[in-house]
Symmetry: none
Subunit: 222 residues, 4 copies
DNA sequence: GATGAATGAGTATTCATTCAT
DNA sequence: AATGAATGAATACTCATTCAT
């Protein structure tokens, strides 16, 4: 939020740590490499952070609040619940890619090491997921969506996004992700079952995957 | 396949490595700890495997072929495409939990280190996803499912499963996962959109998440 | 001597050890690599030799007796003391190169580790140097050579040879060594001092080194 | 040169490494033992040097420049070419003994491992040999020496010295080396051939070797 | 605010060697 | 005669961290 008040050294440490965490994960992050990356001496880092874990937690907090802010802002620009969902998928996809899908993995790694941090992270995740929960709850209240288990649905949605980001990083495909957004929104809304309601709005083509299925995706469905 | 022919020491190394990889990931896996865990001397491990990476690759191969075998077997026991999907979700969920969601993370870690292993892993993943691709393609051919992008859909489905497993491991909730299977199958089939076709079959309750949404899930829908 | 009576496995071990000692020295010789090189299992090597040191000593003994035999044989083919010296230089140069100057280095390495082996090695070296000692002593007795300290002179001569071999191995120059033999014999006989007796017999050219000094070397001087 | 500016820890590492290299060679030099010898923790050594090879190269560079400096200084104190040669032999002999004849062996060992270091070492050796090359070239220009191949001759000379040092270390004889210097200078100047010019100046006795040859050596021959 | 120096405990890996078969 | 399996001790090197300056 008020990053202007944070010392530039601290910021450079967090930036470097974010980059290296994305590459190597928590256990693979070396303080020596971190020092080299941010241009400070190793000892200087300990002037700003108590230990390695504190750095990583700071990175996670900063990233989470940024992602949350971006997600909220993106959703706020849309009126319609469905368009809000599209905005969320798009934003979350982009930000996750930028962070090299770091967060999910780092959390899991830290978690294995530090059981007492679970609650802290659960809170973070609640804050993280809650904007999307709100959107779906609103949709249900408006009669747009059926009364699904909202929390579970949000997990599912984020799972789809992360899975796709992971796949892209594995294969180094650098596409825009538009097709992914269309596919994911369509799947989230209508599923794969054949019924009259959903198919009539489908009309785009896919280029990402080999087997083309021309009828996939929903373009700005109302 | 023919594990009976493999020496017990080798098996014990792989077993221990599988366990520790689930806990700590690739970088966090220590050869000292592995030796303790499998009851052999450190040097003995190197009698069976060239290096740490070779161990981890063996674990991954073994797990992948096991998961694939289980998934295929589970699906083969069902006639109906939808029931096949349910079986896949159930099996994959259970096996992923047993392996502490290890595979996806380890692959990503290794991948960061060894660019030339990408192709190998892509092949593995193809084999891994292909049974599910087949089911959905059959469903589409039978007119049961709409013509979605199948490969993308499979990614989405596995993403949902992995995400949920990760969440459960984070919170140490040890439920059976039945609710999860119902939710996921329902979401995959119908999405969240409100329409006449899907809502009438919903009738179960959720205990997993705090906010209860009584109408979620599809029980053995045909 | 009677190598026909030695088992082929034992011979292959010694051959492999000789090769690797030349490459890596004593400390750098690994039993694993030795086993690979000679095509036997590590444990099999211990069937033939008590330990690593015993192997190396066997190699040294074998090489030394071979070099001694070759040197003696080469000298025996010549009548003249000077021609005997030329033969010795030539033979010793070739055999040292073939063994990658191994012996001198290995002896020094072992010596650092095993003080009680000194006497053994002194005996070996005495046997090793004695043929040349004999030649020079004969030359002195015949009034051909001046009464130098023979033992020291032999050390000097072998020093020159080893130094040149080391230089050639360092620079990977693969010359025949004829120039070297001429140079060394000339230096040994006449030194560098300018006087009437020696210069008149010099008539060959040098190609080995950059600065050419056309008057170097003695061709079959009588 | 400016060793006063180098940290005492770094110097103590190099000193210890020089000592151990002389004893055990490159492969036999253990970082653990080095740490013990210089009184620092293993990890501290890596604060000053990137790896073992860097340490050894530093030792070699330091020793080579020291030997070169001493050799040049010793030669500069003499007017006469022959006396310069005597000074060089004396100095080189002493310094090589002090370093346990380490350099030649270490270079050969490293060279086997690192082909791309050859050129570096050739340069070093050029600088190392060049002072002596200069002396002999001057002697030839002055008509004192016959026109031998100078570079080869320098190799031969250093070979004699190193060989003798090695012999002394093997037998732990701790003599002053005066006899050796006389012998070597005499051999270098006049060789062993019987002729009028050289014998008349010989008049000393040898104690180093068993067989005494009373007429060896040149005492300050002009 | 920043760092060079230092370290104990750790890393993955290799060592020479033994032994039951 | 030959070896697969096993190991304690060593290898070079890195770790996160501290502290005096």
């Amino acid at each position: 939020m008020l990053e202007g008040l944070i010392s530039p050294s601290k910021t450079s440490i967090l930036d470097a740590a974010e980059k290296l965490l994305g590459k190597y994960g928590y256990a693979g992050l070396s303080m020596r490499e971190l020092a080299e990356e941010c241009g400070l001496a190793k000892a200087t880092i300990y002037h700003y952070f108590h230990d390695k874990q504190a750095i990583v937690l700071s990175v996670l907090e900063r990233d989470m609040s940024r992602i949350r802010a971006s997600t909220v802002a993106a959703a706020a620009q849309e009126e319609n619940c469905i368009e809000k969902l599209r905005a969320v998928i798009q934003t979350h996809y982009v930000m996750t890619r930028e962070r090299h899908a770091m967060i999910i993995n780092v959390i899991r790694e830290i978690n294995g090491l530090e059981p007492h941090l679970q609650e802290l992270k659960r809170k973070h995740m609640a804050a993280y997921y809650s904007p999307v929960v709100k959107i779906i709850e609103d949709g249900i209240a408006q009669g747009l969506f059926r009364p699904v288990n909202v929390e579970m649905t949000v997990f599912s949605l984020f799972g789809m996004i992360h899975s796709f980001v992971a796949h892209c990083m594995l294969t180094d495909e650098a596409e825009s992700g538009d097709d992914f957004v269309d596919h994911t929104l369509s799947l989230l809304l209508y599923g794969i079952n054949q019924d009259g309601a959903s198919t009539e709005t489908l009309n785009s083509e896919d280029v990402v995957f080999s087997q083309s299925h021309p009828h996939e995706s929903v373009k700005h469905a109302a």
